[in-house]
């Protein structure tokens, strides 16, 4: 395998492992290493985290190689410090078990870390992949069973792709108003 492809694959796996740490999912295939498999159903990766991160709109794309490499450097340092032996078959961050990935991500996103902005941005985009699927149209995402939106129980639109809820209210007064409410309905 040419070296660049290897590097490319290693970076993808590392970013997937980061996304999977933020909102974890089940393994995509037996022997999936990037996804740790600590949660039932898909997570950020299956929701399209890599597509969101790589989208031109998001603005993260130019920084991803650097972030993936940085992540692995931090993982190497973390492993050395914790006496963890890394598996040379996969990138260092991927080699970490889920609890160690979590500890490292906590350290990276800590506001005391001068680099935290970048790691927080990465986490934000991974979350957005899961809770909004922002790389794709929401109507299409739901129709295709988008993992995050489906997990959250996000309701489907009407047939014209717009949301309307005809039934929306308990339909009755459920509390006493503040005694000093003014005639315009505001606090006094």
């Amino acid at each position: 395998m040419p070296r660049e492809i290897e590097t490319e694959q290693a970076r993808t796996m590392s970013l997937e492992a980061y996304a999977d740490t933020i909102l974890p999912g089940e393994r995509r295939w037996p022997g999936d290493r990037a996804v740790a498999g600590v949660s039932r159903g898909g997570g950020a990766v299956a929701s399209g985290a890599l597509e969101v991160l790589r989208s031109a709109e998001g603005g993260m794309a130019p920084a991803l190689d650097m972030l993936a490499d940085g992540l692995n450097e931090h993982a190497r340092a973390y492993a050395a410090e914790s006496g963890i032996e890394l598996d040379a078959d996969v990138p260092p961050f991927v080699s970490l078990h889920y609890p160690d990935r979590v500890l490292l991500v906590q350290r990276l996103t800590d506001r005391a870390n001068p680099e935290c902005d970048a790691w927080i941005s990465l986490a934000m985009f991974c979350t957005i992949a899961f809770d909004a699927g922002s790389h794709t149209s929401t109507v299409e995402a739901l129709a295709a069973g988008h993992v995050g939106l489906t997990t959250m129980g996000f309701r489907a639109p009407d047939s014209d792709g717009l949301w309307r809820f005809d039934t929306y209210s308990y339909g009755r007064q459920l509390a006493r108003p503040h005694p000093d409410t003014t005639p315009s309905g505001s606090p006094s």
């Binding site: 927080i120 929401t138 996000f154 309701r155 039934t167 929306y168 007064q173 606090p187």
Partner: protein
């Protein structure tokens, strides 16, 4: 010398502060040009879509600062297009606040009583109406019922929503496709256009300089309509009067950047920023307890599972808006919906063993998303926000094509602010955790710091020149002819949603701006009716304004 266009009044920004002043000045006879950095969308342009590049990112601005992130509108109509349209008036005690300098923050001329006729103008114009309980969505009903169960009162909040058109889709933050939300696109702005005002979208003002005749030259760049990081043109416009209304996260930045050309700014420009003491808590409800304790169920028998359904905040509890309580301990609590995209990342897992905002437990929490309820605190913060040196353009270094940027605002909450937040967190827990109804956690401030959709006070009115940038007529001290009429003029946290007060202050500022324009030779007078021609609130203020009415 390059040739520059000219106009009587140049308005920067088309939100509440810009649209209201533009309308009245145009209707009064002035030539008005409005420069707006965002795009111009209407009706069907507003999409039900979280995709990057849809209206949800085109019309939104999210600037991450150091300890405070600011969310606001980025389009013609400004915040009114993305907002939730809850429009209460500020309680009386707010105008007597003293703040950290222990002296009245508001100008002596402004109180709830003196502002009331101006509130009435806004209420007639938008219009703002009372919310009926039978139009309150499940989420608001649930909060109301929980308040009642806990011995609290709760009100349906006045709103600028036409409920006959509303589908309760909860896509308000992407703009209202059904024209149910009474944004400025439906009243002040079309009326301003009808009176000859020009509105230029995607025109971002960068700085001001002076002209030889005592007026101002406004320097703008034109932005690409997809990638706002790209400038596609630029120019200048000369004006006799400038109305700055770019919002509290942007107005001070334009003035800071203008210091080399305009001269020193008042000390309070870019200081005393308030986030309206904003704080969010998310409750995760136990559906069975909703039925058993509160006796609620939807027509289909499900107790709630309806976080997604509704029209933003509809019910609030005002029990802590009590003027006899100490300052910093007064706040309102309002039920709220925050859509995915921002609405889940800061939510924390109650009793988390691992990390609280990401990870395995967070994903489990997301499975119950429809049983969430978010409660919004608006409290008295300490005006502790300070803007650092301005970025090279706009009000942030733009990171994404749209929406996301990094700004220079620093905010370290003081003990006073933290105390208000802690008290309100405890109150929310007391109401919602009672009898096992829900588990509640505040949103984390450890990820992007605090956050606000209500930026205020960064260029405020006041009587004290040391702590206010504007006089009580909204004119920038030492820079006659520049007026600021947006949220930055509000002296401090309001304990309720601010747009009604921002709009009322803009209405109140208009006669003074008219007078200043007349003094500069502009043939303009005050006295336009509401945008739809209604006259009752206009007639009520005419006796209050003197010089501005003369022909």
């Amino acid at each position: 010398m390059t040739s520059s266009e000219s106009t009587d009044v140049l308005v920067i920004g088309s939100g509440f502060g810009g649209a209201i002043t533009a309308y009245h000045l145009a209707a009064g006879g002035a030539r008005v040009v409005v420069l707006e950095r965002g795009p111009w969308l209407t009706g069907e342009d507003f999409q039900h879509d979280f995709k990057f590049g849809s209206s949800s990112t085109r019309i939104f601005d999210f600037v991450i600062g150091d300890g405070m992130s600011v969310l606001s509108g980025n389009c013609v109509g400004g915040g009114s297009v993305v907002y939730f349209a809850a429009m209460p008036r500020a309680p009386r005690f707010v105008f007597d606040r003293k703040g950290r300098f222990n002296r009245r923050m508001w100008p002596a001329a402004v109180s709830r009583d003196t502002l009331e006729p101006w509130y009435d103008r806004v209420a007639e114009a938008l219009p703002v109406t009372q919310t009926a309980w039978d139009t309150v969505p499940f989420s608001g009903g649930l909060f109301g019922a929980a308040c009642d169960h806990a011995g609290r009162t709760a009100n349906a909040v006045p709103a600028a929503v036409d409920t006959s058109r509303c589908t309760n889709c909860n896509w308000m933050m992407s703009g209202c496709r059904f024209d149910a939300k009474r944004s400025l696109l439906l009243n002040y702005l079309p009326a301003a256009l009808a009176h000859g005002a020009q509105i230029r979208p995607l025109h971002e003002v960068q700085h001001l300089s002076r002209t030889d005749d005592g007026g101002y030259r406004v320097h703008y760049t034109v932005l690409d309509d997809v990638d706002y990081r790209v400038e596609v043109g630029g120019g200048t416009i000369d004006a006799k009067i400038v109305v700055l209304a770019a919002g509290a996260g942007a107005t001070p930045v334009i003035l800071q950047r203008s210091e080399p050309t305009l001269g020193a700014m008042p000390h309070a420009v870019g200081r005393y920023f308030s986030g309206n003491g904003e704080r969010l808590n998310t409750a995760i409800f136990d559906e069975d307890r909703i039925r058993d304790v509160l006796g609620l169920s939807r027509p289909d028998g499900v107790p709630y599972e309806a976080y997604q359904i509704g029209k933003g905040p509809c019910v609030a509890t005002w029990d802590r808006l009590d003027g006899s309580l100490p300052e910093y301990e007064r706040y309102s609590l309002e039920q709220l919906y925050f859509p995915p995209g921002f609405g889940t990342i800061l939510t924390q897992v109650p009793d988390a063993v691992g990390p609280s905002w990401f990870g395995v437990e967070k994903k489990e929490l997301l499975r119950r998303w429809q049983s969430w309820l978010t409660i919004f605190t608006m409290s008295e913060d300490d005006n502790e926000g300070v803007f650092g040196p301005p970025p090279s353009s706009g009000n942030s270094m733009r990171l994404s094509q749209q929406m996301l940027g990094r700004g220079s605002l620093r905010y370290e909450p003081t003990e006073n602010t933290l105390r208000g937040w802690a008290l309100s967190d405890a109150e929310v827990r007391d109401i919602l955790e009672r009898d096992g109804l829900a588990r509640v956690m505040p949103w984390t401030n450890d990820v992007v710091g605090a956050y606000t959709v209500h930026p205020l006070a960064s260029c405020r009115i006041g009587d004290d020149p040391a702590t206010s940038a504007l006089d009580d007529r909204h004119e920038l001290r030492d820079h006659p002819g520049i007026f600021v009429t947006d949220g930055s003029a509000v002296p401090g946290g309001l304990t309720v949603n601010p747009a009604m007060t921002i709009a009322a202050l803009a209405e109140r500022a208009v006669p003074g701006i008219v007078e200043a324009a007349r003094a500069r030779g502009v043939d303009v007078r005050y006295g336009a009716p509401a945008p739809d021609g209604a006259t009752s609130s206009r007639d009520a203020v005419l006796p209050l304004v003197s010089g501005a009415r003369r022909r």
